[in-house]
Symmetry: D2
Amino acid sequence: MTEFIFPLRVYIEDTDYLGMVYHANFLKYFERARSEWAEQIGLGMEWQKENEVFFAVYFAQLDFIKPGRVHQELEVVSRISEMKGASASYDQFLRLKSSPEIILCKGDIKIVCIDKNFKPRAIPKFFVQTIKG
Amino acid sequence: MTEFIFPLRVYIEDTDYLGMVYHANFLKYFERARSEWAEQIGLGMEWQKENEVFFAVYFAQLDFIKPGRVHQELEVVSRISEMKGASASYDQFLRLKSSPEIILCKGDIKIVCIDKNFKPRAIPKFFVQTIKG
Amino acid sequence: MTEFIFPLRVYIEDTDYLGMVYHANFLKYFERARSEWAEQIGLGMEWQKENEVFFAVYFAQLDFIKPGRVHQELEVVSRISEMKGASASYDQFLRLKSSPEIILCKGDIKIVCIDKNFKPRAIPKFFVQTIKG
Amino acid sequence: MTEFIFPLRVYIEDTDYLGMVYHANFLKYFERARSEWAEQIGLGMEWQKENEVFFAVYFAQLDFIKPGRVHQELEVVSRISEMKGASASYDQFLRLKSSPEIILCKGDIKIVCIDKNFKPRAIPKFFVQTIKG
């Protein structure tokens, strides 16, 4: 399985009164990385709309290890740990770009593939093959 | 024209690293107040969906006067200053609940009524009549 | 242990292009409920600042069961399942106000008590006693 | 005066139930562009903290011209139209990257320079000179 590295900067909107990244925003960062990955392998939103394939998160486990700070440059590292039927599991973590050994947050995110009526459907083979690289 | 008072509390998600409410969130507070107003007069989301009437903001002017702080109790005061054809103008301001003479933010927000294809359409007479009280 | 029920409405800001509540926002709803609970038992932000006691989320597990929809009225039900040393575990779930048997999301959220230097410190006894009711 | 072009992609978190970018998020995009500009000319958050110089938005006027859509690639174009004493005015607009003649939103954003006690202070000369290019 391949790994996808997604860079981002923390902006003021992401911080809270304690000067840290507000915890829920790490879920957003992880989602941005999954979205960007899909775009870069040609399975982005255009493809999803044409094929009436959508994805919804049905499980998330997050370990918040270190606070993020305003204007830091971060990287989300993403791998797919399992893909079976309608669902896929992502191992994702967030690290400092300048010190990649420093991990801010780890996530185990599970998504389900749905059709336009929100019914689960098998992840398209093309998607599976492309993401397995 | 009537006025609508909408109470809210600032939560951690709303603040930024300077300990203030992040400025873009005042726009959210104003929108919550307009939404709640519509719900309370029976023109809320159920009615909007049944009648295929939607609203989009096309103009906003905001004066940020005083910072908001974490866990403050605030009130949005809303009035409709003009309603004509497809558009309506809201005068809205945000004040401290405990000291209503202290204004945090003033907004002039203009919305346009659209149909399900995003085309402008006249604001329904029933809406106009109801909101004029 | 007591349970705390926190009502909220879904606003447009909370939804995404699929017409559901964006998943990360459930974490915000849970945090609002914990904050409001602290306020209502007299251990809110004023008390926290005076006593230099802050709280940070260090773990979250979320099961997304059903989508939330625009303008729904929801309730967060919160219980503290464990409180030990510097940390506390919350069992929280989100249900429809009109059909409380319908659960949208369940969360296991763990927070740590920190001082102004972000060092863990024991949760004050007064807090423990008050929250145990 | 120079102009700064900031690219971004719309993510799911930015959209609402109508399938558009939620209007308040355009204010966030404009702020990200101003922040990134400051970083790239060496006047970013490190410099601001060392020099105890902070910035707060005190006025915003926004024209929402066209809806933004999920996963679009956009660009924020920013110019400083006035800088005087403690305040600066930014002309900013948001366009489609693939069709830069299509403008989604125009903003007139005014910021004030403040010290660590939130008192207005003159924008440092070094900042003015650098930004004038």
